[in-house]
């Protein structure tokens, strides 16, 4: 299959072990309004899954249920075998293993870049100060921002801030990364610098769930595409299948709107 050819490096990872993220019948309501209905999907280790769909379709809500930032009322989610909705699950401990990148970066404005990356290493992973700094500088180098470590977030461009946010998440050595519209708040000329970092990450075998409208990224990097509409997963297929012959009318409609410009 095409998918296997493009991702040779990842195959051995894919084969070993069960799914990294398992969602089964996940439903969520805000009062009477259902935002997620019966969502079921798996993300294997090393797999890159792009979640797309019209705004308000529940895609952001869906990935936020994975690390328990959004509670859900029905169904189960397991990350690396640990049930997210289970009351006995220590959510902070689980979240420390799952990196998340937000639409609005959410760097801590009162801390320098390196302090942003050090904080959770020190307080959550109990790493020593030197180790945390070394790891932080290393990761900043990886996203091309080693020289910015002592600046404050407000002194950086949006694209730079988002790359720092990715480095901050990576510093926790996550087993999977969640991206919630990572380029939606960026000026067009900065989108690629962030997508490039994400592409590198995917190549290195990171397990990723990415909510995005960047269909070019999906075509290049994704293994699978999930299309959501009105809180439900409408399509869940390989990217070739998705971009080749979208079956549903809604997905077709969505693609035709988003790919024309």
């Amino acid at each position: 299959m095409n998918e296997a050819q493009t991702n040779n490096a990842r195959d051995d990872r894919l084969d070993s072990g069960g799914p990294m993220i398992q969602m089964d019948g996940v439903s969520k309501w805000y009062g009477d309004f259902q935002v997620l209905s019966d969502c079921t999907t798996d993300v294997s280790k090393g797999e890159v899954v792009v979640v797309c769909g019209p705004s308000g379709s529940g895609k952001s809500t869906l990935i936020k249920t994975v690390n328990g930032l959004e509670p859900f009322q029905k169904g189960t989610i397991k990350v690396n075998g640990i049930s997210v909705g289970d009351k006995s699950t220590k959510l902070p401990k689980l979240r420390a293993q799952i990196g998340m990148v937000f639409q609005n970066f959410e760097l801590f404005p009162h801390m320098t870049i390196i302090e942003n990356i050090r904080l959770a290493q020190l307080k959550v992973l109990n790493r020593g100060g030197d180790e945390a700094t070394t790891r932080g500088v290393d990761l900043l180098g990886r996203v091309g921002l080693a020289d910015q470590k002592d600046k404050f977030p407000a002194q950086l461009s949006g694209g730079q801030q988002q790359r720092v946010a990715i480095a901050r998440a990576l510093a926790m050595d996550p087993i999977a990364m969640l991206f919630d519209e990572p380029t939606s708040a960026l000026d067009p000329e900065m989108i690629n610098e962030v997508l490039d970092v994400m592409t590198e990450l995917a190549k290195d075998g990171m397990t990723m769930m990415v909510v995005t409208h960047e269909m070019g990224f999906a075509k290049r990097v994704a293994d699978r595409v999930i299309f959501m509409d009105r809180g439900a997963i409408q399509e869940d297929c390989s990217k070739d299948e998705f971009f080749g012959t979208p079956r549903g009318v809604r997905a077709n409609d969505f693609l035709s709107k988003i790919l024309t410009h």
Binding site: N67, L69, L91, P92, K93, R95, A96, Q97, I98, G99, M100, F102, N104, E106, L107, F108, P109, H110, L119, A120, K123, V124, L125, A154, A165, R168, A169, M172
Partner: protein, 219 residues
Amino acid sequence: METGFDFEIVRESIPFLAEGLVLTFQLTLLGVLGGLVLGTLLALARLAPFKPLSFAAATYVNFFRSLPLILVIFWFYFLVPLLLGREVGAFFSVMVAFILFEAAYYCEIMRAGIQSVKKGQLAAGSALGLTYAQNMRYIVLPQAFRAMIPILLNQGVILFQDTSLVYVVGLGDFLVHADIVANRDNRLIEMYTTVAIVYFAFCLLGQFLIRNLQRKYAT
């Protein structure tokens, strides 16, 4: 009756006045710090998801904000020794009164500050694995505090003026010491004018500080 103004008396009584001013500053500083710490805890309680806790904090705040400060000073002057079962002195009673009273106002300021921190910040902290307490300590409170510095200082300036109410329990603050000299030498106008100028100068300095900080932290 003396005629004409004689400000020489002010110069002569500087050590005695300074002694009073030190007490005024002590009361202000302890009131601000104690009130801020207790007020921050109250604000956290008020915003806690556990309803009885937030209700208790709200009740506390509404209660103290409904009382005149002078009443609280009086009241605690008699109440604190009774509660502790021993004499504690006017200074201690007044301190307790100031801290408890100011905490109600600082609570509301810090609550506004905490609510001004973007919700996404909390999500980002949580996503990194920080606990609720760590989120508050490292992410939310530092930002809330920065955002509220001008208002917090403003509240401090108000307290600086309000400490003069301690005369009702016989504590010798700046105003009381000036008053003693004024009455002893019958130099009321001179002493009260001096007191007014000193209060004005310190408050002006405070306002200046606030304006500068406002500019610095304006986002």
